[in-house]
């Protein structure tokens, strides 16, 4: 009887661990939340987009390969924005800029007609988010599902397109 009670007790203790997802940077982990100001200074959380498939796009106006990638992202955003996926309804891009000058960040967004959410603490490579996400180089991105779980990392161009296509609900 004592043994049975011990087993039940141990099982109960472990229940939260069985159902909680580890916050981390590996595929299958829950992506760490981000809460940074948008262009108007209003804080926007990544977790506010729960339910949607979200691409967290780390970029900067001073990063030439990042800027080059934006038209393709615009194309994918238009294509998948209203799509229903196996693990999320709708597609969003959460752009996190490592810019340090607001004017340059803003002018780049306007110049490229970026119409998805953009946030930045304007701290360049010293931004805490660069540390949290262990960013080693730009461009860098993380794709998460409707529950905030990391599906893929650093997919670009056609590879990203193909990955999103495979996630579509059939």
């Amino acid at each position: 009887m004592k043994k049975l009670l011990l087993i039940i007790a141990l099982f109960c203790i472990n229940i939260p661990f069985l159902y909680s997802q580890t916050v981390g940077l590996e595929i299958g982990n829950t992506a760490p939340d981000i809460r940074l100001p948008d262009l108007k200074g209003a804080p926007v959380s990544l977790s506010a987009f729960k339910g949607k498939v979200v691409l967290i796009d780390f970029w900067a106006s001073w990063c030439a390969p990042c800027v080059k990638e934006q038209p393709k992202l615009a194309e994918l955003y238009k294509q998948y924005k209203g799509s229903v996926f196996n693990n999320g309804k709708g597609f969003e891009i959460y752009g996190v800029s490592l810019d340090n000058k607001k004017a340059e960040w803003e002018s780049s967004i306007k110049k490229m007609n970026i119409n998805w959410i953009q946030v930045s603490d304007l701290k360049f490579w010293t931004s805490p988010v660069a540390k949290t996400y262990n960013i080693q180089a730009l461009p860098f991105n993380v794709l998460i599902d409707g529950k905030g779980i990391i599906l893929a990392k650093n997919l670009h161009g056609n590879e990203l397109d193909q990955f999103l296509r495979n996630l579509l609900q059939s």
Partner: protein, 150 residues
Amino acid sequence: MKKTKIIILSLFALAYIATAFQSVSAQNSNEPWTQQQLLAPAALAKTINNPKSAQPIIYCVGPQAVIKNSIEVGSAQVPANLSNFKQQISRLPKNANIVIYCGCCPFEVCPNVRPAVNLLKEMKFTNFKLLNLPHNIKADWIDSGYPVSE
């Protein structure tokens, strides 16, 4: 006798291959800086951390001056910033101990280091170094705990 001949011929062949390899390597280095002009981050960090050392004048030619005691001149790809840099260094002696860095991106795609190095060469500076940040300022400096500006 035959053995000696083979050894001598082999040595000549090896020397020839080595020379050819060296010349190919030199040709591949199309950068405006030399290997001797690249300064290791650890070496600069050591100098900054030792106030008794002769301190170089450190210019950031990229988006933000992250390194302690460095002077921000703005991204050197912007002509106005390059002019600003030119104005600042024109006051210095040609043998001034200068270190420049950017650290926005890997060297291959960095738009700022080349215009800055070329300017220093054009102005005949003889004692300048480019901080060797092959990845970026975070990976090659901040993550190592080297001194950053307040």
